[in-house]
């Protein structure tokens, strides 16, 4: 297996007004990896949704705490890792989307992430606080 090449490590406050900066940084990196605008848009959307979940559910919109985004390239695969320092989430069941037959606002983020990314998992971190969400996406070459 090819060694992973780190393309980005970006730490930012877990606040909604920083999401546009995150998208800009991510687009810069993805621009060097894939020529497909559709794919780049999808990845930016999925990572953005994951950050939104951290802001709203891990930090409960209290404007405190940071998020670290790491982006790695390993062969044909992109790996996105989001680390927060909030209370640990213990169950991956929370990351399953709700039924789409219900037409109501909210609750679409997990579905979008799972639809776009090839693999999504909470990494078991050894510290008492914090969560690490890892998402993988294969690049079309």
């Amino acid at each position: 297996m090819a060694a992973a090449e780190k393309l980005l490590e970006f730490q930012f406050p877990a606040r909604s007004d920083h999401l546009c900066i995150l998208r800009e940084k991510l687009r810069e990196v993805l621009g060097t990896c894939s020529s497909s605008e559709e794919l780049r848009n999808c990845i930016v959307l999925a990572v953005g949704e994951a950050c939104m979940n951290i802001i709203e559910h891990a930090y409960c919109n209290n404007d405190q705490g940071d998020i670290i985004l790491e982006v790695e390239k390993q062969g044909n695969n992109m790996i996105f890792r989001l680390t927060d320092f909030a209370h640990r989430k213990s169950c991956e069941e929370e990351m399953v989307g709700r039924p789409l037959e219900e037409i109501r606002p909210g609750g679409l983020g997990c579905h979008i992430i799972n639809e776009i990314m090839d693999d999504v998992q909470l990494i078991d971190c050894k510290t008492k606080y914090g969560n690490v969400l890892q998402m993988k996406k294969k690049l079309d070459i």
């Binding site: 939104m52 037409i103 909210g106 979008i112």
Partner: protein, 111 residues
């Protein structure tokens, strides 16, 4: 996100542009619900929306539901590709009524 509201006699057109994310979606929600409160049908122009996430979509869904409850029309005009991508992923492309022109929307409004 930038927005502009154009008022016609029986409906409003809300022109949106730029990126709609968690930071901007409360403003979008306020504009949509504020317009519907005046008991006028609403058409959302999505032609220049370069990014929209699930929080933006949630505002659109809430507008759709509020319009329905009040027997008003609610539609999306000239959906941009990025916005269409999100609607397709969430299967809401089958829920919202999509229009190519304002005339098309106007013609289906009840007199």
């Amino acid at each position: 996100m930038k927005s502009n509201l154009r008022s016609e006699i029986s409906y409003d057109v809300l022109d949106l542009s730029g990126e709609i994310d968690l930071h901007h979606s409360p403003e979008l929600r306020k504009k949509i619900l504020g317009s519907l409160k005046n008991k006028k049908s609403l058409l959302i122009n999505m032609e220049d929306v370069s990014y929209i996430d699930s929080s933006g979509i949630a505002s659109l869904v809430e507008g759709f539901q509020t319009a329905k409850e009040n027997k008003l029309s609610f539609g999306l005009l000239r959906i941009s590709e990025p916005a269409m991508q999100v609607l397709t992923l969430t299967r809401l492309d089958k829920v919202f009524t999509l229009y190519d022109s304002i005339d098309q929307f106007q013609s289906q409004l009840q007199p």
